[in-house]
Symmetry: none
Subunit: 192 residues, 4 copies
DNA sequence: AATGAATGAGCTTTCATTCAT
DNA sequence: AATGAATGAAAGCTCATTCAT
């Protein structure tokens, strides 16, 4: 029973994520989400009182899953460079492996919806990675800059890399692109 | 008469850009655009047969204005570093000075509309800057990567910087952020 | 519940038929149909996804009801003359008794909508009457003509009679007009 | 100059007739008529203050041309039968030769527009043919029926024949169909 | 919990008509 | 006489949301 409940809610959220990324928020009617999730129109609104709450729920779900995977294996690395490289690589690979979710999150972040969320929420979900990154920034020429500004400047190439790989037909050398892009940022920051 | 015509068309396009960035494509009814532009509903469709054409028109207009300004003064600089720095600065300042237009272009680029445009068009509009950038890439560790991939990876921090400045309350040191972000990328690419 | 459903759908279709004949397809907005049927605008589109489907549905409904009544009592008549007279009379009386439906069907047949329907469908619905008519034609001077051509030539006065009666103020001798018009066609065909 | 005027008015009316029959009254915007007639939108409304007046004008134009041709050669025939046969043939051939105009007139007659015209107008335009027909009716079993009722009942096969020929792919024996249909009606009326 | 019929505000787009030039 | 930009009232249709069952 509890599983049924979760099943339906999960089915709706998963379907929503897929359709939102395929067609955009506004291009995806709730009725279509319900139909493709195999539930009735009313059931969707039983679990998510408004469309906006469905969007938010899907966003948080994905974001926390993503944050968990980005931090995976970071602590096992020794040097800061290796820790941050691991994170860099994790982030890109997650985006490449979950293009739907990835694009959904990006879409969410650049839509009017984001303004309704407390901004600090967005960085908090990846604690391990956050520490490493913050430490690196403090030793770099970005020292003193607001942390979220430095963070977004440094990490912005991740997004470019993910999109490039996703849009390519598989003929792009992923590993080289990941390492090269990381190398540029790391050398830029530290001189090493 | 010719001015009247341009006036109305221009008024519609400008109003559209403002509202689109404030509320998104789908959140902005054509009726609202018309009302705020001070014309009738029918007049909007007299100049732009569909909403999509209005969006495209606005995009091209802005894109070409932006490209022109990004290339401004590049040729007067001597070294490659200075040329590219000039471009970097121009791009960021344009985004900061025209936040509506800037966000509109970004929104356009990550929406389904972009797929209907020939992809080569998007880079062509800034020829001078394009040359410098391409030259720099060829001498860097990105050598051999598809040009548009290298391009987007390198320029991605520009977007992060613009957004940071626009979202800040003016208490951010623009010049330092521009120079620092450029410094990171340049050192990352060239080791200098 | 099943009745409710039928009630609403039926109410919409009946209202549509009335308004279409009074004002034409194009002169009848869906909003008016909904209002006069006592349902909301959305409900109409819940049952009929497009206006065209509403028109088609109404047409098929009426056509099959009409065909059933035209064939009524034909088999109980003995001679061919009596069978065909019965059919002739039935057809005219149906048109006179259901002027809305009758004019609607005529309007439908001379509109672009009809072209989307398989043409053989139109004759098939009155099998008994069809047999008699076909037999009569084969013995007449129309022998060898395409059946639907002969059919339409012979039956065309039915339409004229219906319209005359409907447009008159009730001071027309119906029975005489029915018998006379039939007599002309029968004598014209058979010489009897 | 006077010719210019007529030219434009005529061009508009002729274009209107063609488009109305191809697409229906409601399916033909005035702007399309103007464009295809090679005049501006405003010019159309200069000559025809409303769309309805344009429709009426076109109807009268065609109707009088048609009536003239239907009566052609009738007086040269000797017997009543021959006169009426000539008229019958003329009517059908005109419809077949001018399918656009013919269908336009039919469309007009079965549309709401017709109710705004004085009904006697419709028969008056073919005086010679009218006389013969009236005489024949008076000698037939239709004697005493209102003239326009008798008229429409008798002439209804003309419409069926025209439509059959127009819709056929040219593989219909026109002359036989004309003669046969006339024969049925004439024999039905007179017993000859 | 689950359904899906019902709602009605709102959307993009059309088009007969007007009017300044 | 001729133009065509401008108008704004509809039109068909969508969709988030409600509610009786």
């Amino acid at each position: 029973m509890a599983e049924d409940r979760n099943d339906k809610k999960t089915a709706i959220a998963a379907t929503a994520v897929r359709l939102f990324t395929e067609r955009g928020f506004h291009g995806t009617p709730t009725s279509l989400i319900a139909r493709e999730a195999g539930v009735s129109n009313g059931t969707l609104f039983h679990y998510f009182p408004t469309k906006e709450e469905l969007i938010n729920f899907a966003y948080y779900e994905i974001k926390s899953r993503m944050a968990g995977e980005i931090g995976g294996g970071v602590e096992e690395e020794r040097t800061d460079r290796e820790k941050m490289w691991r994170m860099w690589r994790n982030a890109i690979l997650w985006g490449v492996d979950h293009p739907d979710e990835y694009l959904f999150v990006q879409q969410f972040c650049s839509s009017p919806f984001i303004r309704k969320l407390p901004p600090e929420e967005i960085l908090k979900n990846a604690p391990a990675a956050f520490e490493v990154l913050a430490g690196t920034i403090e030793k770099s020429c970005l020292k003193g800059m607001p942390i979220e500004v430095a963070f977004s400047v440094i990490c912005s190439p991740i997004d470019a890399v993910v999109r490039s790989i996703v849009n390519s037909d598989g003929d792009l050398d992923r590993d080289r692109l990941i390492d090269t892009s990381f190398g540029i940022v790391w050398r830029g920051l530290t001189g090493e």
